[in-house]
Symmetry: C2
DNA sequence: TTGTACGCGTTATCAA
DNA sequence: TTGATAACGCGTACAA
């Protein structure tokens, strides 16, 4: 048999409503009664039914993560951050799968919202910028916090890192080592972060008076395989780059493996830099300089913003990234 | 405003109960009425409230995954498999974090069960074998399916691979290549799979008449770092092994990186074999022979068993693993 | 500061 | 084969 508020109220010798008040930390409860209620709750091991709460009240104590990032590390870190924060508030996380290209995406999200009454949603790239989804959620007045959005920045609260600044810093670093021909591998097209990172690369080149050579820029898609392919092309050039900056560490790993196969020594003959620093790659190849994206923290803060409540102001929270230089990164290194 | 069954019933011109019947695929509904209800549901875009359903009925349409595996790949694959199957039944997955060593684990799980009314739980190692948790869930009559259990196999339904057989096969493979001194790196102590894999290693040695040398067996904990440490020790031996079999691919990656640093060529001077085949390692180092554990499928099938319902018989479902030989694995290779 | 009565949206019971 | 009506366990509105 399930223990209900009724049972608690009987044991504590107070009304149902008083128990409810204690549970929800409302004002106007006598210290003595509060005491008795708490004791009864502990004694009976009472835990309120989420279903009943969300049916009767305004909150469901559930939030959902809409995430279809192809990188397991990213997903794992994001979920971990979210759950860390959820735990503090006794909220549960529903992990909602979706198919990036699914025609059902809208239906799925609407389904989720209606069926679960979630208190809010966290969106990650690339869905974080899908206009149709944003529209839908705005219409339905669902609280949303977005991670790394690229458009409509003032629409909802969000967390982000300065992708452009970080990429510029990395590029400057490479330039500082003496590199002039720096290859760049862009991320997945549908991620706003890809463009931001590439902007940083271009900005730094320009600031250093280095002409942008589009032959040194390749399209990738954030994963190992695309990094390998891009590296093949870059390293087969007549005048091959002396450094390659990949927009993700998985792609950087691809670069390193190709370099290894071609007997190009890293970092002596080729500097390699990456972004994200979450996968095994960084352990495996120490001579890889990366920008570490604090994915877990982004999830944590996003959750915090989400749980802040209905009328909390829209806030854009920037999370600090970390520049991780594990070893010398090139032939020009001091 | 939320669309309710009431609205549907009004539009369809039938009673609330009839709508409910159609929704739940119950018998005794006239074809014409069913038709009208379905039309009304589509027209109004009606989606039943999970909260109300779980409050009134016996099902909550939610299951939870209790998972604290340190490998992001494992977690990701497991979740993906579960969600794939959930989607078919319109069920949601709650991803429940837990701290392996937490004193609160029991409380957390009980909390989850009481608060969410989940229809069932999926347990992965190491919690899949925690007696206290199993006891609790049995007492509470919660439906449970376990992944890779090591004890009390008949207590609940479960999915598993033949870890012992796979490890034996891999060891035989190495022996077949001519190796006699084969190092072994065991997995995390609290995982039953660790022992199973080690048994397979020992069985194969014995079958081949090779004496077990405990100096060649090191304790690991499934992750990259522990693999590196173990490899350091194994490769520093006076008579170092000509092959190393690591119980996970992350550990195998550690072995490979150490070998690389020590200028020991793989596979020419050292054969390396791994288990799991989920991480980046296999992409990065082709000369790594592995057992591929179909984690996603294990999650999928576990979910299927879970959703089979209250009175479904207890079933142990074995999932086939895959032997992945990417390249020659040693100096003795034909 | 406390308690009563009602409603949330669905399934279950039982009568028609 | 259908439909009233009573739960389910909690928050809300309002009265005391």
């Amino acid at each position: 048999m399930r223990v209900t508020i009724k049972d608690v109220s009987r044991v504590a010798g107070v009304s149902i409503k008083t128990v409810s008040r204690v549970l929800n930390n409302e004002k106007y409860v006598g210290a003595d009664k509060r005491e008795r209620v708490l004791a009864a709750v502990a004694e009976l091991n009472f835990r309120p039914s989420t279903a009943a709460r969300s049916l009767a009240g305004k909150r469901s104590y559930q939030i959902a993560l809409i995430c279809d990032n192809p990188s397991p590390y990213y997903v794992y870190e994001m979920q971990s951050g979210i759950r860390d924060r959820c735990e503090q508030d006794g909220v549960r996380m529903i992990a909602q799968p979706y198919d990036r290209d699914s025609a059902n995406l809208l239906t799925d999200v609407e389904n989720l919202v209606d069926a679960t009454h979630v208190d809010g949603l966290i969106l990650t790239p690339p869905v974080t910028d899908y206009p149709a989804v944003l529209d839908l959620l705005a219409r339905r007045r669902v609280r949303v916090v977005r991670v790394s959005p690229g458009t409509q920045l003032d629409l909802t609260s969000s967390t982000f890192i300065d992708n452009e600044g970080a990429a510029a810093m990395m590029t400057e670093h490479l330039i500082g080592l003496g590199h002039r021909r720096i290859g760049f591998i862009a991320g997945h097209k549908s991620y706003a972060t890809s463009g931001q990172r590439m902007s940083g690369y271009m900005r730094a080149l320009q600031a250093a008076g280095i002409e942008l050579d589009l032959g040194l820029v390749k399209q990738g898609s954030y994963d190992f395989a695309s990094g390998s392919v891009a590296a093949e092309e870059l390293l087969a050039l007549d005048r091959r780059p002396s450094a390659i900056f990949a927009s993700s560490d998985d792609m950087a790993a691809g670069v390193l493996s190709v370099a290894h196969r071609l007997d190009i020594r890293v970092p002596d003959q080729l500097s390699v830099a990456g972004f994200d620093d979450t996968s095994l790659a960084s352990y495996v190849w120490p001579p890889l300089t990366t920008i570490r994206q604090p994915t877990r923290r982004m999830g944590y803060v996003a959750t915090e913003l989400l749980l802040a409540g209905e009328d909390a102001p829209i806030e854009r929270r920037e999370i600090a990234f970390e520049f991780v230089r594990r070893a010398s990164t090139g032939p020009f290194a001091g």
